[in-house]
């Protein structure tokens, strides 16, 4: 074994507390080798062990009638019928992206893809929730450009469409940007593959890229504050061409029946994949590091075990099938290296240069990590948030206010982003990014469509973590309902600051509890997710930022819905809750006559502080709204639908107008007319606060357009579901958005504002 002495300093450098080190000594009954210390260090990092979050996460509902695989595997799986299943998961790649945006984001994409195809699912869609700081800052522009290019280059190359995402620009992300990535895959139910090292005597096979020194201690790195103070070597570099080859090789390997278990080497590399596979199967694994293909000279066991080089896979193959596996892997030119075999002794045994360099009970490292219940304390800032709504003076021009909101980078069109992503490859994207509240993908050879979305409004979570957490789930589920889908399940990425700060942990705990309750009421099980702590620099944590990815199914009689108006004369209804007030809204961040020196607007690219309180959310109303919309859809009562979110009613109406564009075609020549738009003619009711009516971001609200002949049926149905329904006006053929005497704007002007580039 190695001769390096294990000192308390070395233990501390590995991020283990003295108590954790004592547990290591107890488990081994002796001092660890350096390699073993490294293994415990990464496996017991927050990123791999969830040691601070595990107890809180237990409150999520994870079961449902269609859940085939819940949390604990590489990704969750839900039954779709037709012998098909959908597999999905979200993950963070925040810390690497803050240092090296291009490779940080690219490897995030590569990593989440591997989680999906190792389950036997072909990746069919990527989604990217991103959070950035103030966009006028040149450094932030560099980060934005790098992240988007990284996502684009990886996703485009592997041929998986990036179909949705969301982007917020908020000051709290100035030091810690968030890059979350979600992947959705489709599989035949009978080809579900689990990451288990089953069957003693079976071979442990390594394929993919060779191992280098890149990314050593990446997982520990993601479990520390202030990524900027860390070494750059913890950021890995992706190779999407190898990524594409291992997708194809892995899916073929699974289809051939040659593999009994597969796991990718992601965080904590070979260490994590070997211990977790053994631990899940209750077996042991013995590997010889001399057989690991290496791209750097003279790597020691510690480096090989902890490397996070990308595009590497570990498969368990029965001896009699190794020739089949080898043929497939070599045909795809990804290599086939037998590292060792599955044992029945429950040990992870690692050999290097003829010596045993690590020998640890696999289950103790993978599943018996320390668990903590960090101290929780309500943060003092919450006392500064007003409990009652702040009164708002009217701005001088309502139309101007709307245009400012449409130009605001968080609300404005993200065409400049998604046009860099191939969102059409695989020819399944039926509702493209920007065209609906969620993206819709057809499932070829079936009558089904899938709807996918990511959501997470952290402003509301900062104002009220529990209500905000509920709102995130409610909005995600609502967005798939808006395009016509029944929500099937949810994956979550929880981005927070340092959990050892009681105030941060309190917001984490509250957020999760709120989300869990919403999941239970709305019937959307959580099938997996990711926790990213330590998004904190210079003592400032990001807003509590839980993000959800929701998958829904559209099957006849449900139909696909989009926000764009379809027919002039259709009646426009506002369905659901009351506007409440402007707390947490973007309008309240832009229009702050009391606070700005100029007594007026902040620049839309540099909004002012968040103003509370958080609006209330009634989960029963939310559920009723979603059930009503689904039933109205089944009965064919809705021609266009759009939920109210950032920017409130006025922005939602504007978006329905903007997305109504159509061209006329001369069938003979194929020539088209210029795009023609429908408008909206809205009657403004007498309200106490017009600003709230127009711009409030209160939850559980949606717009629905209905054929005039069917409005009575729609109203009766709303009554049955106890959902408030207010007639607002009608779709017009004037290409103007007219709100009584309040505003009257041509759709072309709305469109121009909405397409404003942020920099």
């Amino acid at each position: 074994m190695q001769e390096i002495a294990i000192t308390p300093e070395l233990v501390a450098q590995h991020g283990l507390t003295p108590e954790e080190y004592q547990s290591v000594l107890d488990i081994l009954g002796r001092e660890p080798t350096l390699t073993e210390l490294g293994i415990f260090s990464v496996m017991w990092s927050e990123h791999c062990s969830y040691k601070c979050s595990k107890r809180t996460l237990k409150c999520f509902p994870t079961r449902g009638p269609n859940v085939l695989v819940g949390p604990g595997e590489n990704a969750g799986v839900i039954d779709l019928g037709h012998n098909l299943a959908v597999c999905f998961k979200i993950e963070s790649h925040n810390h690497p992206s803050a240092i090296e945006p291009y490779n940080g984001a690219a490897t995030g994409v590569g990593g989440i893809l591997r989680d999906i195809f190792t389950m036997g699912a072909r990746p069919i869609a990527m989604l990217n929730p991103l959070r950035f700081g103030r966009i006028t800052d040149p450094h932030m522009q560099w980060l934005v450009g790098g992240v988007i290019a990284g996502i684009a280059d990886y996703g485009n190359c592997v041929g998986v469409p990036t179909v949705a995402g969301d982007i917020y620009f908020q000051d709290c992300y100035e030091q810690n940007i968030l890059v979350n990535v979600m992947c959705v895959g489709l599989m035949r139910k009978d080809q579900l593959m689990l990451a288990r090292a089953q069957g003693p005597g079976n071979l442990v096979v390594y394929y993919g890229s060779p191992t280098g020194r890149d990314g050593i201690h990446g997982a520990t790195f993601a479990s520390k504050e202030d990524p900027h103070s860390q070494q750059r070597s913890a950021v890995q570099v992706g190779d999407p061409f190898m990524g594409k080859k291992i997708i194809e090789a892995t899916l073929e390997l699974i289809a051939s029946g040659a593999a009994v278990g597969i796991q990718d080497m992601g965080a904590a590399g070979l260490t994590c994949s070997s211990c977790e596979m053994a631990s899940r199967a209750g077996t042991g694994v013995e590997i010889d590091l001399d057989r690991v293909p290496q791209r750097a000279d003279g790597m020691n066991a510690y480096e090989i075990m902890l490397s996070e080089s990308q595009e590497r896979m570990l498969a368990v193959i029965p001896r009699e099938k190794i020739d089949t596996a080898r043929e497939i892997l070599e045909r795809w030119e990804v290599g086939c290296h037998i590292l060792g075999e599955v044992k029945n002794d429950g040990l992870l045994r690692v050999k290097h240069r003829g010596r045993v360099v690590a020998e640890i009970p696999a289950v103790k490292i993978a599943d018996q990590s320390p668990q903590y219940s960090p101290e929780a304390r309500r943060p003092a800032y919450l006392d500064t948030i007003p409990a009652a709504p702040v009164p708002y003076p009217a701005p001088p021009d309502w139309g101007d206010a709307l245009l400012r909101l449409l130009r605001c980078p968080t609300i404005a069109s993200k065409r400049w982003v998604y046009s860099q992503y191939d969102h059409m490859v695989q020819t399944a994207t039926v509702v493209r990014p920007g065209d609906g509240d969620a993206a819709v993908l057809r499932v070829k050879d079936t009558p089904m469509h899938l709807a996918v979305t990511v959501d997470g409004n952290s402003t509301m979570c900062w104002l009220d973590p529990e209500t905000g957490g509920k709102m995130v789930v409610a909005e995600g589920a609502r967005n798939v309902v808006m395009v016509g889908a029944e929500p099937l399940g949810l994956t979550d990425c929880l981005n927070f600051g340092n959990p050892n700060k009681p105030e941060v942990f309190w917001t984490f705990d509250k957020c999760v509890r709120g989300m869990a309750e919403a999941c239970r009421v709305l019937g959307t099980p959580v099938t997996g997710g990711n926790v990213s702590f330590y998004n904190e620099s210079k003592g400032l944590a990001v807003f509590p930022t839980p993000i959800v990815g929701v998958v829904g199914k559209i099957e006849p009689p449900l139909r696909i819905l989009t926000p764009g108006w379809k027919n002039a004369g259709d009646r426009i209804f506002l369905v659901g809750g009351h506007e409440q007030h402007l707390g947490g809204s973007i309008f309240a961040q832009l229009w702050q006559p009391q606070q700005t020196a100029r007594a007026g607007y902040y620049d839309e690219r540099e909004p002012g502080p968040v103003i509370g309180p958080c609006p209330l959310l009634d989960l029963e109303l939310e559920r009723a709204l979603q059930q009503f919309l689904l039933e109205a859809n089944r009965r064919g009562l809705i021609n266009a639908a759009h939920d109210l979110s950032e920017g409130g009613l006025a922005v939602a109406l504007a978006e329905c107008c903007i997305k109504s564009g159509r061209e006329k075609m001369d069938p003979e020549s194929g020539r088209r007319s210029a795009v023609e738009y429908l408008g909206a003619n809205i009657e403004v009711p007498k309200v106490k606060c017009l600003a709230s009516w127009l711009f409030s971001e209160a939850p559980s609200r949606a717009l629905a357009a209905c054929d005039p002949a069917k409005t009575a049926e729609l109203a009766a149905l709303a009554n049955d579901f106890h959902v408030p329904l207010v007639a607002l006006g009608e779709v017009s053929d004037t290409a103007r958005m007219t709100l009584g005497k309040v505003m009257d704007l041509p759709v072309a002007e709305l469109l121009r504002a909405h397409e404003t580039l942020p920099f």
Binding site: A149, A152, D153, N156, C157, V158, G159, D239, P240, F241, M242, K244, K245, W332, E333, Y418, S419, Q420, Y421, D422, H423, M424, V425, Q426, T427, T429, V430, R432, R442, K444, E663, P667, E668, S669, G670, R671, R672, S673, A674, V675
Partner: protein, 229 residues
């Protein structure tokens, strides 16, 4: 008739092309691994989009050496139809089956969006019955077609320019050029007219479910041409 789609390592529109040919147009379609030869009974060979060899070195620069390309060259010489889409177009120019090169887009970014195309030649095997203006998606980072002055003149004189980027009404304008291509060139044929390379994706616009069926005209033109023999 029979079609084949070549699968290079890194191709990612291979399955989409098979779907459009076989499922949408009803043509039996074989997937040919890049190490193998295209069977002799194949009438239409498609080089699909994607990132063959990860675009390493230069888009299409490595794929041109793939063993399958020899049989593609032979098939082209025998007058069989060869269609290169996106990365397939890049491979065809690298293999010198078509003239010119494809540079990075002038915006220096990958671009995925619908464009309008003017069908300049409506008498090639690929464009019989294709309307004068069609809409199709592009999705590329290196679609900026370039050729020297003499080469451009030869293309024009020989009527080899098949598609040009245009606006909705069919006007070939600078604004409608998404990537900086010389003369708004989106697709060209060889002199014999049996090898077409184009950056836009007809297979992504072959069904109304995807918002447009203009790409189907092109695939069906090739099929009709071959069936009539």
């Amino acid at each position: 008739m029979k079609a084949a789609v070549i699968v290079f390592p890194g191709s990612n529109c291979d399955e989409d092309c098979r779907w459009a040919l076989q499922h949408v147009c009803g043509v039996p379609t074989e997937m040919v691994w890049f190490r193998h030869r295209v069977p002799d009974d194949v009438d239409l060979i498609v080089l699909p989009g994607g990132f063959s060899y990860g675009d390493y070195l230069r888009a299409g620069a490595l794929a041109r050496f793939a063993p399958a390309m020899e049989s593609v060259r032979e098939a082209a010489e025998k007058g069989r139809l060869v269609l290169g889409i996106c990365n397939g177009f890049q491979i065809l120019v690298e293999a010198h089956l078509l003239p010119g090169v494809l540079l990075r887009n002038t915006c220096l970014q990958f671009l995925c969006k619908d464009v309008f195309l003017k069908t300049v030649r409506r008498d090639t095997p690929f464009t019989l019955g294709v309307p004068e203006v069609v809409r199709m998606p592009i999705a590329h980072g290196m679609g900026n077609y370039y050729i020297d002055t003499d080469g451009l003149k030869a293309l024009q004189d020989n009527g080899q320019i098949v598609f040009q980027y245009c606006d909705h009404a069919g006007r070939v304008t600078a604004e409608s050029n998404p990537n900086g291509s010389l003369d708004n060139i989106a697709g060209i044929v060889n002199r014999a007219g049996n090898v077409l390379g184009m950056m836009p994706h007809p297979e992504r616009a072959a069904e109304d479910a995807l918002g447009c069926h203009d790409g189907r005209y092109l695939l069906e033109s090739a099929i009709r041409y071959l069936i009539k023999g």
